[in-house]
Amino acid sequence: MNPTLGIFIVILLITLGITYWAARRTSTTADFYAADSQLTAAQNGFALAGDWCSAAAFLGFTGLTALYGMDGAFYALGPLVAFCTVLFLIAEPMRNTGKYTLGDIIRSRMQTRTSLLAAIAGTVVVNFAYLMPQMAGAGVLVRLLTGISYDWAVIFVGVSMIIYVAFGGMLATTWVQIVKAVLMLSAGAIILVMILSLVHFNPLTLFADAEQKYTAKYLLPGNYLKNPFDQISLGLGYALGLAGLPHVMTRFYTVPDARTARRSVVWVMFLAGAFFAGTTLFGLAAANFVGQDAIRAADKGGNLTLPLLAQYLGGGKGTFGGDIMLGFVAAVAVATILAVVSALTLSTSSAIAHDFYVNWVKRGQVDGKREVWIARISAVVIGVLAIALGILAQGVNVAVLVILAICVAASANFPVLILSLFWRRFNTGGVVGGMVVGLVSSVVLAMIGPAMRGADALWPLVNPTVVSLPLGFLGAILGTWMWGRDLENEQRFDAFLLQVHTGVAPN
């Protein structure tokens, strides 16, 4: 049997076992949405690492560095720096004020139905923009790695994630992420040690060899991101967009208090950060050992760089060691996708069940048992929708959606979230203004840019965050002004501040 398939079946059996175990412990809404808030800092740190490192991080960063040099290293640095923003400004207030969703925070601050609806829109748009390319990527990757067809690959990934989420809720999703993070970090550590032993434990040799092989231009910035403003958009999108990604931020509800939330961020910064730093070395090593031509021959975008590097390090194509290493890395890549799509499905179904159905449609008048059922059904419906979209997306350029997800998160969700937490005058008009302007400007600018229209682009930037993020803030501030003073809301802000900083509500 193909070793990838063998290793992958083992991972699948483990995750299904976890789901069976988790399903028996999941009955209340707190269990389903937040794993009863009982995780430790280390557990949530590993789960955050599993959640935040998508296949784009696991495979993409290495490939970008191998093919384009320093720009790949910029892609890898941003996701670590992003956690500084989350640590200083978001994680603890989030734990202290919300319960299960981003919508909870906006609702408890504004106490209006309109603002809740805006928060739901932000969550659903970002999650689907993120989910669809993950499904399409899963289809391509599983087909390449196991040989089954694209459609069956998407269906297989979709059905697995539906099982994890619908039966095991947050507890199963969390442990799938932890297993994936442990596998990913082990794979990274093994590859790193093998690379270092080849260069006599002097990483500078990797730079010298790459310079010699591909000239000094390879080690300069700008080989991938040609437009200088795209570099800045990338930086801003990461630094502020992570805080607006609901599927990562809801992880802070799985710990008991702000102190644990804070410590889990420090964990993920070391776990994921070390892996990101590793990808830069992996990319340089792949360019040196495997060669850019062989990497491009396997996949134009460089997404198979890491599996190819692992194969080389294991002994090369056709050897036992090479096959095992390739199989291991490929299986971890599939596990990575499963962990991320599960988190996206869970976060979307929480927004639909908890924010939309229970709090918007039914105004909170739903008992817990029924709410859990609604959430499970939402997970199935969202999963089926994701499978359908994934199949339809075959051959369509989904790269624009990846950019869009982080761009909307930074331009719409982030301004609304940060102003809700820290600005007294901010009101429902501001929530709607920030969400609408951030969302529309991101979507329009991404659609008329080169990612979608290629040479016919009406606008030069692939990633519009550098423009849409200030526009989102502007929309939020103008919306606040146009709504007029909401004195009741401003008075309530004192009580809200107590909750933001202590986690205890004064009522």
């Binding site: 290293a73 910029f74 000094a216 200088p228 570099q231 800045i232 801003l236 600005w423």
Partner: protein
Amino acid sequence: MRVLLRGAGQAATARDTLQWIGGYMAGNGTSLEAAHASIKRLIAEKLKYLVPMTAIFMVSYIGLTILAGFARDLLGTRVIGAANLGFVLIAFNYLLSWGLAIAYGRIAAEKFDPLAASAAVEIEGRGLK
């Protein structure tokens, strides 16, 4: 950052305190006032550390992306062997992020947690009345 400053700055004005006391004092006892005073101290303390720390990583990281966009040759200056200034600054940003994370964890445990804990007791003390 301006927003953060503004939000907290407003919270710290005497007008707000008076408005708040006027609105709530009637049946709510005095420990909630103490809680608000504690929170004000906590916010001031947080701003003292978080404003410079946020400024440091934003300048360091966004500054690096600006250099990558507009000063490509400068980042190509060889510093250690073939590793150029760009890679050295990238490595510096990793170390800076980790350093700030550890520093924040320490500062929060030593300076913020005790203030938050006393405010929490004051809020809950009111609830028991």
